[in-house]
Symmetry: C2
Subunit: 140 residues, 2 copies
């Protein structure tokens, strides 16, 4: 299979697949004309990568997940560990975004949004909130 074929199969852009080879996630063969040649196992791995990335795993996580996937003697605890750490990062990110959201909703609601210059949003941004602490204490 050429790169276009695996791209179609995996749903990943050819550029991305080349990038994955660059960072060592796939190691396709080369045919005599210099073209990459992908085996079934490579196509499979790329699908795995696509799915893992869609779930937000980092490239490093993907590297580890693939290593575990290929290790018959893995302990599922190792996989679960990676997933749980990722879950924690996601939860942190969601919490952070919700904090921002709460503040923004509050400000947007307070702003008339008309032709006049008076704006509670700008007023808030211009206000000293000591350190960055105020954000951490914002109610969700």
């Amino acid at each position: 299979m050429n790169i276009g074929d695996v791209a179609a199969l995996s749903g990943l852009p050819a550029k991305t697949i080349r990038y994955y080879e660059d960072v060592g996630l796939v190691k396709p063969l080369r045919s005599t004309n210099g073209y990459r040649t992908f085996r079934e196992s490579d196509a499979h791995k790329l699908a795995f990568l696509g799915r893992s990335r869609a779930l937000g795993f980092s490239i490093e996580d993907c590297r580890n997940l693939i290593a575990l996937y290929e290790d018959e003697k893995r302990a599922s605890a190792e996989v679960k560990d990676i997933a749980e750490q990722h879950l924690e990062r996601i939860d942190d990110k969601i919490a952070e975004l919700k904090e921002m959201r709460a503040t923004l909703v509050h400000l947007v609601d307070a702003c008339a949004g008309d032709h006049r210059p008076d704006c509670p949003i700008l007023a808030d941004l211009a206000t000293k909130h000591r350190g960055e602490e105020q954000l951490k204490n914002t109610a969700l």
Copy 2:
């Protein structure tokens, strides 16, 4: 004021402040020894930037927000517009993360996390989910 002083005042690292100068967000003066000299208004602007960035506004948004802030004849509608667009981006991001989270929680729950190699997480990642559509259809 030297850069260290505004850094302490604004809570921003000196490196970040230099970067903000690079991208034209602040324009401190220079004293004869080459040191940046920040006026009160610069310190104020940096605090504004710190707060805006903490709320997740992009550098480009910040540029526009500061321009509006300094424009006495602004319409608050313009500010509100920027904030609402940002809010929308945040909502999209939260929705995306929640989708990932739901899938991950499901998978983590299903995984024994012991010494055995059997792992529903890997099994899922290795499964073909046609296109990338499956994720968009995942229940929140």
